[in-house]
Amino acid sequence: MSSSSTTTTTTRLLMLKASDGVTFEVEEAVATKLGAINNMVEEEGSEDLICLPNVNGKFLGMVLEWCKKHANNNTNSDKGNDEVNKWWDKEFVMDLDQNTLYHLLMAADYLSGTELVDLLTEKVASMIRGKKVEEIRETFKIKSDFLPGQEEEIRKKNSWAFE
């Protein structure tokens, strides 16, 4: 890893191709917020077209939209950027349905978008936090697969929490 490899400031454009053939033209500075793409750029150097067979156009688009917003907010060297990012992140995850949330999380994880994975896992955690067992099952449509007596045993072991 060369320590002085600060990418040139002239905007270079990358082509990203999703599994369904949809392509996106993105500034390098934006796309390299994603660890996976950053690695490909560093390894393959001049390659301008990057194929991403594990993510489809819809969700790649959403991931890139998030990257773009964060890249823009960070270049405006204004104070209060963190506030803007936070506010925007909140809007971004507010109305996600579970299906979209799941596919976005998969896409962000696949592309190694650490900050975005953080945001999305926190969103899922907030859907579990403070809920009772039945409510968690209801939220994620899970059926209990415990054998008779098993659930009772766990309840007994931590009885202080279930009174």
Binding site: A125, R129, R137, K141, I142, N158, F162
Partner: protein, 365 residues
């Protein structure tokens, strides 16, 4: 008990993908552990009951270590001990929206020994220490000490071991208040030199099992008193209260440099709204609590933004130093008086400490 086959099955699934639920489909197990690591213990206990897969994921070593590394981001638990009218522990979850309280009955403690419990980061061992003073007469403050015995229990061993090292001065607080750098700390009994009343700090290194004396931060004069110790931002801190309504917090910035005591902030006296004055439990019944302090700093909240304290062992409030504001914290269902212990929730099991003596109450998942 689950059969081995099922365990095997769960483990295999864990290593690949987690079926989080129909609507969330299968996500990589590391991502699921990341989600779990963000939850407070009370939520994780609920998760254990959702399905076999949730249950095995909460117990997974990777989930446990991820949760531990995030532990300081969540607000801690408070364990409130009272022995009047019955001995019980109330566990308050400060990270739950309603400050939920869980109650556990405990056996009565007839002993007035000194206790400490902690983890040393270098040896990676949990140890408990018990210092027993044999006195002529029952009052530890007035009776002559005949003998001192020190016992150590290393987590995983089944028996307490007797060690020859002894604290260099008489310790009077019943339990260690501060664990810093793998060292437990207690305050000694106060003693007088000239006009001045002094109180030293005794440390016990959990790795070397040695006691040391740490001098108190400043010369106090007749109107100030070192009341208690607390860990703030991983630093040993001493709270010095004056007769004029102020409480100074002194922080030992560099643990190994005894000159690094710094006055960090001053909190004025404050009586929280929840303080009940008119019902007094007979204090002589409080076998295991001799502190009875007006003001006791417990921990910092919200990553250091606020300082949580208890008032006369009866109620809680927090102080925001940057705004100079107090916030009273009302928690329903606690006894009139209690001792509070700050507890950072972790999934690391301490069951092994009770080998041969099954723990009566599991505070740890």
């Amino acid at each position: 008990m689950e059969s081995n086959d099922e365990n095997e099955n769960n483990r295999n699934r864990c290593e690949n993908e987690v079926q989080l639920g129909i609507s969330l489909g299968g996500i990589p197990s590391e991502v699921f552990f990341d989600i779990l690591s963000r939850l407070p213990l009370t939520s994780l206990l609920q998760c254990k009951l959702v399905s076999q897969l949730y249950c095995s994921s909460v117990k997974h070593p990777l989930a446990i270590s991820m949760h531990l590394s995030r532990a300081n981001l969540n607000n801690p638990f408070l364990i409130c001990f009272s022995d009047y009218p019955i001995s019980k522990l109330d566990i308050v979850d400060l990270s739950s929206p309603g400050n939920d309280v869980f109650s556990v009955r405990t056996p009565n403690f007839p002993l007035a020994s000194i206790f400490g419990f902690g983890f040393h980061p270098k040896t990676k061992e949990y140890k408990a220490i018990k210092i027993v003073y044999y006195t002529e007469g029952s009052n530890i403050f007035t009776a002559a000490i005949k003998e001192t015995e020190v016992y150590i229990l290393t987590l995983g061993d089944s028996e307490w071991r007797h060690i020859v090292q002894k604290p260099l001065k008489l310790i009077t607080c019943p339990a260690s208040d501060a664990l810093v750098n793998g060292n437990l700390h207690w305050l000694t009994m106060s003693y007088q030199i000239g006009e001045e009343i002094l109180r030293d700090i005794i440390s016990f290194d959990l790795a070397t099992e040695d006691f040391q004396v740490i001098s108190q931060p400043i010369r106090l004069g007749p109107n100030k008193f070192l009341t208690h110790l607390v860990t703030l931002n991983d630093c040993l801190s001493a709270v010095i209260s004056s007769q004029f309504g102020e409480n100074e917090i002194w922080v030992l910035k560099d643990y190994n440099v005894k000159e690094s005591w710094t006055k960090e902030l001053v909190i004025p006296d404050h009586v929280p709204l929840g303080f009940t004055m008119n019902c007094a439990p007979p204090t002589r019944i409080r076998l295991n609590g001799t502190r009875k302090r007006a003001f006791r700093v417990l921990c910092s909240l919200k990553g250091g933004e606020e300082i949580l304290f208890s008032y006369r062992d009866r109620c809680f409030a927090s102080f925001n130093p940057s705004r100079g504001e107090f916030k009273d914290i009302q928690i329903e269902g606690l006894p009139v008086e209690f001792e509070t212990i700050v507890h950072v929730g972790s999934l690391v099991s301490v069951d092994a400490a009770f080998a041969g003596h099954p723990a009566q109450h599991h505070l740890v998942v």
